[in-house]
Structure formats: C-alpha cells, structure tokens
Assembly symmetry: C2
Homo-oligomer: 313 residues x 2
C-alpha cells in the first residue's frame, strides 16, 4: 500500500492520513495495519497519567523537548475522554501542546474513542504501531483522568508515569491505591506549591505498603514543568527503568503479555460485532426488551434465550 | 432466596450482603438478580459526574440530605476508579460521605470494577436494581472523572448532572464538548470562588452550540455545597427534568434503550468469557504470541486464525 510505504519513510502527511484511516476504520485499514506491523518493536513507550490540573500536558511537552534535544525522534499521543456522540478528540492537537509542536521529527496526535473494533486502548495501540513503524524512538502517551480506560492504556506502555500535584483538594482520591499500582515512576509536578513535600511523603508511604516495590522501587521525582525543573532527572529515571526492564528480560515478557491481551481483545471484539449485527436484526430482541421493560422477563434470563437462538443458527 | 426476601423488605444488612454477593459474582448471584428484577423500576436515578476537586461528594451528600428531609428514601453509589490489581473501592464508604451516613433510610455503597461478567457499568446497574427493589425512591450515582466508564454510567441514569468548579486550571478540559453532551443539568459548585460567572458563561456558550438543547434546555445551577446554597434549586431542576421525561414519554424510551444495551452487553460478555476460557487452553495461542513477538505474524491475521480454530470446534 503506497500510503503505508510513505508513512514508513516518515512522511508526516502520510502518517496522519494513515492514522485517520485506522482511527475511522476506513476500508483497507486492517490490511494497512498488517503491513505496518512487521516494522514495529523499536520505539520505547512512555505513558503519563494523572488528574486534570496536574500540568500533565506541559510536562509531556517538556519531556518531549528534552528528548528531542538528545536527538530522539518523538511521537506524542494525547488521549481525550470520549464522547458518545462525537467520538471525542474535539480539542485538536494544537490546543494542548505548545513549544514542541514546531520541532522537526516530533509528531503529535489527539485520539478519541474509536466507534468500531476495540475501544480507546486498541485505537491507541494501533497509532503507537504506526508511529513506531515510521521510525519514532520514543512515543509519549498522555491520558486524562484515572479510570478503566487509563488502566488499559497503562498496560500498553513500557514505562508508566503517574503525575500528582499539591493542593488538588482530595489527596486521598489522587493517590489512592489503584493509581499507585500502575506507576513505575511518580512525579509531583508544580512542586514549588505548598504541600509538595506532603504529597511526596504520602506517595512514599503508600509505596512502602505495596508488595510490588520489591522488584523496582518506584522513584518519586519533583518537577516544575513550566520552569523546566526536574525534567532531566525524570528522563534519567525513565532510562533507568528501561534499563531495569531490559536487563531482567522484563521488557520482552511485558510485550508478550501485551500481545496476548491484544489478540484476545481483538477476537472478543470481532465476535461481539458479529453477535451485535445478528441480534439487531432479530425480532425476538425487540420483544425481549418489551417483556423486560414490563417486568415479565429479566435481562439475565434473556441472555440465555438469545444465546440459544444464536446457537441454533 | 432468603437473602433476597430480606433485602426486598429493606434490611440494610441483607442489602449489603446481596451487593457483595453480586459484586463478587459469588455462587447464586445471577439467580438472586433474577429474583430482584421484577421488583425494580420505581426508583429515580440521578448521576453526578465531574472532575476531582469539584466537591462532588459534598454536593451528593447535601442533595441526599435535602431529599431525605423531603421524605424520600435514598441510595447512594460512589464509583471508584478501578485498580487492575485490587478491584478498586479501597476507600471505603465512610471516607467520602459525611453527614448523610447516619440518616435512617439512606444506604451508601462504594463500587470498584467487577472482575468477571461486565465492567463497572454492569456492576452499577446491578447495584441500582438491588437498591431500587429494596424500595429506595431516589438513587444517586457519583462517578470520578470523565472517561468511557463515566459515559457508560451516565447512560444508565435518568437525570445526569455535570459538576464544574471555578479555577481548576484548564477550563477547556473540564468543559469540553464530550462532557457537555452528557449533562441534563449543569452545576457550578464552589460558586463563591473567583471565576464562577466565567464558568457559567462558558457552559452557556457551549450549550448554545449544542443541537440537543432544542428538546431540553439544560439549566446551569450555581451551588456552594459546603454552605448548602443552591441545593434546593438543584433539586427543583432535577424534578423538572423528571417531569419533562415523563410527560414526553422519554423516560420509558430511555429505559428501553438501557435494557437493549444491557442485554447486548451481557450477551457479549458471556460470549467473550466463553472464548477466553477456550483460547487460554489452546496451544496455538501461545505459539501465535511468540510468532507475533518475532514479527513473523501480526495480531490482525492471528485473530482470523483463532476464529477459524474456534469454528472448527
């Protein structure tokens, strides 16, 4: 496919077109991804998660700039909360990234939820592959908020960075256990603000409780992204974590797990799609809804009825 | 089932046990839900969504108190971001709710992600049914953050309230289009803070752009939850929205759509589970991962191979 060839050669226009094609599942997208796949596996994937207001976009911007100055080529994926109506990603790319936008070899893309096969994690995973195959050395993935989506996204990166910030109101919410477990590196941004040391202490205390820390003790890095402070230390820690993964053969294990999850998910989605298409046309489906709404039937029993109908076909 | 009977009679202990049973998919949970279902359909469901730091928990607390004082019995479900390791909901119920906890007829529950059948939206939907069947008049559902999870939760409530707050840093993120579209009522909490009128103006401007507003013009209510200000007006707007839905036969249509989504999802999950169980035991699965990791194969082609294998069985 000509478009894939051009993207593999690094043409930004082709990369953007290819992503649009895959994101919208336009005809030929899967064939394109099959051609992209053999060229993947070289990029290092870094995820950034944290609450709104933590200055995550600026942090990603500064990390990208610093890596760019070290001659790494960079891809940035900013994941937007999805909208059930518009598919999200309305903000555009330029609103949230600043300085780094104009640099040579830096490619930025916002992503909403893809309607069809797979959710945001599959869309992200496909865009990562395209950027990876096009020759990017590091791909930075930024998510908003902490939820199931973000957890899934974290599972597809190599190093996961959790960004906190002092004074967000409910420290407990920001630092709860679920978030602790998905971080390889913790950043306290806006660390010139009052309460920064308190946040560091809280994270440290929670890490002490975490059994996972025996393998890799997650570092806590204080940054002031707007003033470029702490960025070098953060990059150093990212490189240390990468080294840790590589030396202990964990990177390979991590990536194999990821492949297993991805094909299981793709398979589930394909079967769901099939079921969905079949069921919508089935007369009993509408009848069942009516019956359930009248409390003459219940959702759980209906599923068995539908399963039996599908099996008969 | 004795436990279901006791829960239907309003025993808080039985309700709590039943929820635990369903949440953890303990033996008999689906049978219990089948018995619960015929008694549902009376509660009115109100959802609260908004970013961390918006004072949502306090707002829910005050709305619950006010409804309690109007002699409504209340259920509250607080949805926690999930953790891939612990299943979330570590915060406990008492941390986030205050005054309302001790009131007669008020039941509060935190929810994490359920591991098995269905995600957080199915778990929430089941807990709603239990509280509904146990005789609660209003069920308040509180989610953290805005993501796919929250969008799904919004789809299972009757009135959806989006909470904003002045000065959270990036107004654009808080008020982006995706969030606008899921709100029936908008609340600007902490409205004594600087910038509250600006937030109101922004929401109003975005609502003007929204084609959906022709049916129900979403009101914007200013509150100071900690001082109980604006709570009565908010409840008035909730009741107006309920009246709007009922009078235009939209409530029924909404609930039927919800049933359709629920059974489709339950069916997909059941099939996924089946596929998952089958595949894990299949030798080719591990081989495929190895091949994909070595770039001798790709995830998309593998799915077709696995589908063929499943069909042969």
């Amino acid at each position: 496919m000509e478009l894939v060839k051009e993207a593999l050669n690094g043409s930004e226009r082709a990369i953007a077109q290819l992503i649009t094609m895959v994101e919208n599942e336009l005809p030929g997208w899967m064939e394109a991804m099959k051609q992209v796949y053999p060229h993947t596996g070289n990029a290092y994937l870094i995820g950034f998660t944290g609450p709104t207001g933590s200055g995550k976009s600026t942090l990603v911007d500064r990390v990208a700039l610093a890596l760019h100055n070290q001659n790494y080529s960079i891809g940035i994926i900013a994941i937007d909360p999805s909208s059930p109506f518009t598919g999200g990603a309305l903000l555009g790319d330029r609103v949230r990234m600043r300085e780094v936008t104009d640099k040579e070899g830096v490619f930025i893309r916002s992503l909403g939820t893809r309607g069809g096969l797979g959710g945001i994690s599959q869309a992200t995973s496909d865009v990562i592959k395209i950027l990876d195959a096009s020759g990017k050395d590091c791909i930075l993935i930024e998510t908003i908020g902490i939820g199931q989506d973000e957890v899934e996204v974290v599972q597809i990166v190599d190093t996961s960075i959790v960004v906190s910030v002092p004074g967000l109101g409910d420290d407990i919410q920001t630092l709860k256990a679920g978030i602790m477990e998905i971080g390889d590196i913790f950043v306290v941004n806006k660390s010139d603000r009052e309460g920064a040391d308190h946040v560091v202490t809280m994270i440290s205390a929670m890490l002490d409780l975490n059994p996972l820390t025996t393998v890799w003790r997650q570092p806590i890095v204080k940054t002031i992204a707007t003033e470029n402070q702490g960025i070098d230390e953060l990059i150093e820690q990212i490189m240390l974590h990468r080294k840790h993964l590589t030396e202990n053969d964990l990177l390979n294990a991590k990536r194999k797990e990821r492949i297993g999850r991805e094909i299981t998910k793709l398979l589930e989605q394909k079967i769901s799609q099939y079921v969905h298409d079949r069921i919508k046309g089935m007369h009993p489906f509408e009848d069942l809804i009516e019956q359930i709404n009248n409390r003459e039937n219940d959702p759980y029993s209906s599923v068995d009825i539908l399963l039996n109908l599908l099996e008969e076909k």
